[in-house]
């Protein structure tokens, strides 16, 4: 499978990083989740070529790797934007009008939940409870929490995101 591994040029250096991460865990298949987490840290997502490479390197069937990579929400198999926007749709936020908030954010960003804008600037996700229900409805922009932001507040915050 490795011969079919055509990594784009600019990613070739990043691939060295992948090998480093793998070596750090002594190429143990039991460390798959940790390895994938660290790779995602690096790339912001899990490119298919890397999953193929990992499957071979860790001596683990590809379907097993994908089973795990698609099970956990932290992993993304598609490129993610530079800015991650999360809207909480947990129960408490829901009754505090999270659906309205989600529509507002969707309209402002022009993408649906789970999508990434074509300029890779934003990724929008919905999440379950964030553990701060009293602030609901909660919007998280790059790990900063905002309680019930208005449209103009959101506009301003998004503008600041590069």
């Amino acid at each position: 499978m490795s011969q079919g591994l055509a990594m784009p040029k600019e990613e070739a250096t990043l691939f060295i990083k992948v090998k480093e991460i793998c070596a750090k865990h002594q190429g143990k298949s039991s460390a798959l989740i940790q390895i994938m987490l660290e790779i995602q840290e690096e790339f912001n997502w899990l490119p298919r070529e890397i999953l193929l490479w990992l499957s071979e390197k860790l001596n683990m069937p590809l379907n097993r790797v994908y089973d795990i990579a698609t099970f956990y929400k932290v992993f993304s198999l598609i490129p993610r934007g530079r800015n991650l926007v999360k809207v909480c749709t947990g129960t408490a936020c829901h009754v505090r009008k999270a659906p309205v908030m989600l529509r507002r954010v969707t309209q402002l960003l022009g993408i649906n939940p789970g999508e990434t804008s074509s300029d890779l600037r934003f990724t929008l996700e919905t999440v379950g409870c964030l553990g701060c229900c009293a602030l609901g409805p909660v919007v998280v922009i790059n790990d900063e929490y905002y309680s019930n932001p208005t449209t103009s507040e959101l506009e301003k915050l998004f503008k600041e995101c590069q």
Binding site: R48, L62, N63, Y66, D67, T70, L77
Partner: protein
């Protein structure tokens, strides 16, 4: 191997320890319907159609016979009214997403009403027979599950499928209890939740064949 003795449908049966209730019943000539079981594969316990009622002491409960090990003194009922009712509901639920093939056959036997639950055709019932057959028997791993919950689905991995599937000629097709594999989802990009364009679109070793199959069902 230690022997254990149990009662299935009133019959006294002696089997080796570690035998499942399903194997024990079959050895005694008692039939239990299954959807996700195949003798060549490790038990999966995902369809629950093989449910039976067991009593040990005073308590009666429902277990999946294909994964439950036989034990001394167990009293098993494979056709009690409770069991039949459960199987019927399971089949009715399955028929809402997968109205053809073996699911339909069994539905007829159990006299299900096909319109009890709102239809939401996904075809695949996630029995895992195709995936497990490909992994355990063919050792090819050309198929796999992705996602979880309502997004879970079966996909082909094109890199591997292109290499292994032509030689095997898609033996997994005949195993599928829905009468159609690959299911509709295995091809289109799912319309809900996170889409997986890195896995899709899946190119099949025989796309023509696949299109014919899906045309027949729609």
């Amino acid at each position: 191997m230690k022997k254990v003795s149990l009662t299935i449908d009133g019959k006294e049966i002696n089997v080796e320890e570690q035998t499942t209730l399903l194997q024990a019943a079959r050895a005694a000539g008692i039939q239990i319907p299954t959807l996700c079981h195949d003798d060549r594969l490790a038990p999966h316990g995902s369809c629950r159609l093989c449910s039976v009622e067991i009593t040990s002491g005073k308590k009666a409960r429902i277990v999946a016979s294909c994964v439950y090990p036989a034990a001394n003194g167990l009293v098993v009922e494979t056709k009690s009214p409770r069991v039949v009712k459960i199987r019927k509901v399971i089949l009715e639920l399955l028929q809402a997403s997968s109205p053809k093939g073996r699911v339909e056959e069994l539905g007829r036997i159990y006299g299900t009403s096909t319109d009890k639950f709102e239809k939401e055709l996904t075809f695949c019932i996630l029995c895992g027979l195709c995936v497990r057959y490909c992994s355990e028997v063919k050792k090819a791993d050309a198929l796999g599950f992705i996602g979880r919950g309502i997004e879970k689905q079966v996909v082909f991995f094109p890199e591997i499928a292109l290499k292994s599937c032509p030689a095997c000629e898609g033996q997994c097709f005949s195993l599928c209890p829905t009468g159609i594999l690959p299911n509709k989802f295995a091809r289109s990009v799912p319309s809900f939740g996170r889409s997986q364009p890195t896995v899709f679109p899946v190119r099949l070793w025989d796309e023509e064949n696949f299109l014919n199959l899906t045309r027949n069902i729609e």
